[in-house]
């Protein structure tokens, strides 16, 4: 057992956990954050993707104790209050989900992807960057569409923000 302390979705959480506890199980079982899913045993499906210290990682391939001292954002922490995050909104608008099981991981991966590509994204890049996220329902068509659309919306938002700052 180890004592862990970390910031999850802006809230300080912690306590004693078995060292073998995976981050995904800590989130789901200890914190009740069941939006992060487990879809495989081999770190490939990406249903468990969360952000640790600002980077997308697979929560099924990390121990909770490894993240002690870190900042974690899960799908539950992405929206700003009642307002959907632009990527969540784009997934809905473009029908980027069906059964919803891979969706939290897809959205967390997409957020990380868009953050890493402020210059914008093209279809080939989006498809390549989705390497670690498997969806069985959508054929990816509308996921790709949603991410491209969100990337544009967010670039516009960022430009507006900058213009405001400059003014």
């Amino acid at each position: 057992m180890s004592d862990v302390s970390l910031l999850v979705n802006g809230k300080r959480v912690g306590g004693a956990v078995e060292d073998r506890t995976l981050l995904v199980h800590f989130l789901r079982e200890n914190l009740g954050l069941t939006g992060t899913h487990v879809g495989c045993d081999t770190s490939q499906c990406g249903a468990c993707v969360v952000h640790v210290d600002g980077k997308a990682v697979k929560a099924c391939t990390m121990l909770a104790v490894q993240t002690s001292g870190s900042t974690v954002v899960t799908i539950e922490g992405l929206a700003d209050g009642a307002d959907l995050h632009p990527i969540q909104a784009a997934f809905k608008e473009h029908h980027g989900l069906q059964c919803g099981f891979c969706t939290p991981g897809m959205i967390m991966t997409a957020t990380d992807m868009i953050n890493r590509h402020p210059e914008g994204l093209d279809e080939a890049t989006v498809r390549a960057e989705l390497e670690g996220n498997i969806c069985r329902c959508t054929g990816y068509h509308n996921i790709v569409k949603a991410i491209l659309a969100a990337s544009k919306t967010m670039a516009k938002g960022a430009a507006k923000g900058k213009a405001k700052q400059a003014a």
Binding site: I75, H95, L97, C99, G100, R127, L130, T138, G139, Y140
Partner: protein, 781 residues
């Protein structure tokens, strides 16, 4: 259509919870006192169980119970069954071997469940599962269906001699043979349809809770049809009588057929909950899913297609061996028979058809319906054969198809089906236009200059959906009727709940079904709630599979809406002192046609519940139930065109364009329908290029994780060009045909036709992986 009515591209109501992480799947459920189950499974494909010793496991930390099949049998829990009786052509019934939820004396495939361990944590249950000692006597295994039929092959079940479950036929052998004999040309092929693993992203899971005080069971399960699960667990597995068993299928993360069936795990979790006194949850690992989810396909067929001198098809003869795995899964028998051979006429006017199907036990995971279920196998035979025939006859594949299309309806095929409507040429024309078929030769030449092989392939599919007219399937051996139910409850303030026997696991019913209600009464879809997936809330229903929820499920809702509408109009006529026949409901208002007299919808609802002023003799309330039994199957059809480029040095196939032109009848939400097509195509392309379950000769599954089983990823696929040209279905009130499986049915032959075209060969095995394609190119040189 209004902005939320039939035909509108309405964003999905259910999305909010999924995109915010608030979906509720079985693994998200927590019941006070809940403990965790792990199954001890057979590591051998075929073995006798000599001894099971659970003593050490029972003594492990956190262990609450270690239970075996013997105890399960002693408590009267029944064997798993196949719910569709097929008779062999000699009149004998299919040979169903016993399938105990926990194996007692023999295991028949790797993954066969033997013991369940219940412990405080999943980790402890797993620790204890490793401590269960089982002594086996290994037996020789057989994994290949053709080999299983050979004399001296290992015998999987005593009940099925030579592993033959049934030897069944359909159509007329004599006329078909005569057509082949008299033919100007016969195209002959041997065609393999590869075994697939469904791989819904949410692994199967079950949570069983026995309430001792109430003597009542609740089962949360990843099911496409919770009522069928309850019926079967009650009537056949003796878990509990129906009134004491509640089955809940909450949010379910994809099914594709694999979550239709009732598996050992949910039965065992319920039984173990009573046995141990704690709620018991089991969640599959991915590898467990690979080993034990019902697989799909796995056919080997030989075909002969006869043509006259005008290139018209005169006969089609098929001989198929279908691998059903180690046990007969719930609907396994109908997949390679009535869902398969009845579609062997395709879109073509074929006067004589005969198919013979032998189903076989092997030491592999059970095989049952997987997206398309029999129809992809039929389409693959036909469309691969048509392509080969066109090449042999030296005619264009499009022309050969067009020449043989059925053009008048209704059309009776020689294999039971009566097609009610369609326009196959319209889909073919649309697809060829979108694909710029005429410009292909130029593109091929340009690719050749780059050293790449370009090929084009098409596939004109038909499927039978809207499953199914109950009396018809009953006469063919089905154990259940395949109607659907709906209850429409108008609340006193005019909001509406629709209770449906359909189950959504990605299909968007909460939106589409609400659109239907909006169309009728003008109530905003936000004021319409769709209730499904809980046997305590919803009347008996048959669930979602076979692209039936639009054609059958929504027809039931439509029928219930008719009844609500009729009563509402009666009430309104009474209140407005008008003739019932003059009442119209539009945009949330109940009006007297041609006047300015009207009532808001909610006032009619309120009047029904206050009951202060109803027509004489009318019962209060506004709530109606309907059961809809389809009059016929529905027949979605379409044309798919795939264009590929192959890198001959590595054998890598790139899909450069994929075009789908479908006829789904009337469409409620085009956005959702397109999504269904996209997903279906990805699964079909997956079958053709990437996916294949692979057992070694000893029965070990070599593709038991994503490390070895290739799932389609975003980078493997292009964006798809999809469109529809629809002929309304005359057989149901909404004119809907269904769209859930089309993509998976139509696409594999289009892809393989394109690849064989590119390389200039007759056939290639699926999946046409880079190494397979490279070897084929080398062999063709």
């Amino acid at each position: 259509m209004g902005i939320e009515g039939v035909g509108a591209r309405v964003a999905r109501k259910e999305d909010k919870r999924f995109i915010t992480g608030a979906g509720r799947y079985v693994d998200d459920m927590v019941v006070p006192g809940m403990k965790h189950a792990v199954f001890v499974r057979s590591p051998h494909a075929h073995a006798q169980i000599k001894k099971i010793d659970v003593k050490a496991a029972q003594a492990m930390p956190g262990v609450i119970g270690v239970l075996t099949g013997k105890e399960l049998k002693a408590d009267g829990i029944g064997n798993l069954i196949c719910g569709w009786m097929i008779h062999s052509k000699d009149g004998s019934p299919m040979k169903m071997g016993a399938w105990s939820p926990l194996a007692v004396d023999k295991v028949r495939y790797v993954g066969d469940a033997i013991v369940v361990v219940v412990a405080e944590t999943k980790g402890q249950a797993r620790d204890a599962a490793e401590a269960v000692e089982i002594t086996y006597k290994e037996l020789k295994a057989v994994v290949d269906a053709t080999k299983a039929l050979e004399k001296g092959a290992p015998q999987v079940h005593d009940e099925a001699e030579n592993n033959l479950i049934f030897d069944w036929e359909i159509g007329d052998a004599k006329t078909t043979d005569a057509a082949i004999k008299a033919a100007a040309h016969v195209t002959r092929m041997k065609i393999v349809n590869n075994r697939l693993v469904p791989n819904a992203m949410e692994p199967r899971a079950a949570l069983g809770h026995y309430d001792k005080a109430e003597d009542h069971y609740t089962c949360w399960t990843t099911s496409q049809n919770p009522h069928v699960a309850r019926l079967v667990m009650s009537a056949f597995y003796n878990v509990a009588p129906e009134n004491k068993l509640r089955v809940i299928a909450p949010d379910v993360g994809g099914g594709f057929g694999s979550k239709i069936y009732i598996y050992p795990e949910e039965i065992v979790c319920l039984w173990a909950s009573k046995k141990t006194g704690v709620p018991v949850k089991w969640v599959a690992d991915r590898t467990e899913s690979f080993l034990t989810d019902a697989h799909g396909r796995d056919h080997v067929s030989t075909v002969e297609m006869a043509f006259d001198k005008n290139n018209r098809i005169t006969g089609f003869k098929v001989d198929t061996i279908a691998n059903l795995g180690a046990y007969m899964s719930l609907f396994s028998s109908c997949v390679p028979t009535y869902l398969y051979a009845t579609l062997l006429s395709g879109q073509y006017d074929i006067p004589a058809i005969h198919a013979n199907v032998r189903t076989v036990y092997t030491n592999t995971a059970p095989v049952d319906a997987y997206r398309g279920a029999g129809r992809p196998e039929a389409t693959y035979l036909l469309e691969r054969t048509m392509e080969a025939a066109a090449r042999e006859l030296g005619v264009s594949p499009a022309d050969l198809r067009r020449k043989n299309f059925i053009t008048t309806f209704p059309h009776q095929t020689p294999v039971i089906m009566n097609y009610d409507a369609g326009d196959y040429a319209a889909s073919l024309d649309a697809a060829m236009k979108t694909a710029d078929y005429a410009g292909f030769a130029k593109r091929k030449a340009a690719a050749a200059k780059q050293g790449r092989l370009r090929g084009i392939g098409m596939s004109c599919y038909i499927e039978a959906c809207g499953i199914a007219p109950s009396a018809a399937v009953g006469s063919l051996g089905a154990g259940v009727g395949l109607w659907e139910s709906a209850e429409v409850r108008v609340n006193a303030v005019g909001t509406i709940e629709v209770l449906t026997g359909s189950h959504s696991h990605g299909q968007g019913h909460e939106t589409t079904f609400a659109q239907l209600v909006n169309q009728r009464f003008g109530v905003p879809i936000d004021s319409v709630s769709i209730v499904h997936g809980d046997t305590d809330k919803v009347q008996m229903g048959m669930g979602t599979y076979g692209s039936r929820s639009g054609a059958v499920g929504m027809s039931a809702i439509s029928k219930a809406l008719d009844k609500v509408e009729a009563k509402a109009k009666k009430i309104a006529a009474h209140l407005l002192e008008a003739d019932e026949g003059d009442i119209v409901i539009e945009n949330g208002e109940v009006k007297v046609a041609g006047t300015d007299k009207s009532l808001p919808w909610f006032q009619v609802a309120l009047a029904a519940y206050t009951a202060h002023n109803l027509p004489a003799g009318m019962e209060p309330g506004l709530k109606e139930t309907a059961f809809y039994d389809p009059a016929n199957f529905t027949f979605p059809a379409g044309c798919y065109i795939c264009e590929v480029e192959i890198d001959p040095e590595t054998g890598t196939t790139e899909i450069v364009q994929f075009v789908a032109a479908d006829d789904f009848g009337n469409i409620i939400n085009p956005m959702i329908v397109e999504g269904q097509v996209h997903g279906g195509i990805a699964q079909g392309v997956g079958q053709a290029l990437l996916e294949g379950a692979h057992y070694d000769d000893s029965g070990q599954l070599l593709t038991a994780s994503y490390m070895d089983y290739t799932m389609p990823r975003a980078g493997d696929l292009p964006s798809f060009k999809v469109s529809t040209s629809n002929t309304p279905c005359p057989s149901n009130p909404l004119g809907i045909k269904g769209c859930g499986e089309a993509g998976a049915i139509g696409s594999p032959p289009a892809v393989i036709n394109a690849i064989t075209d590119a390389i200039g060969i007759t056939d290639i095995a699926m999946p046409a992986s880079p190494s397979t394609v490279w070897a084929a190119i080398r062999a063709a040189k």
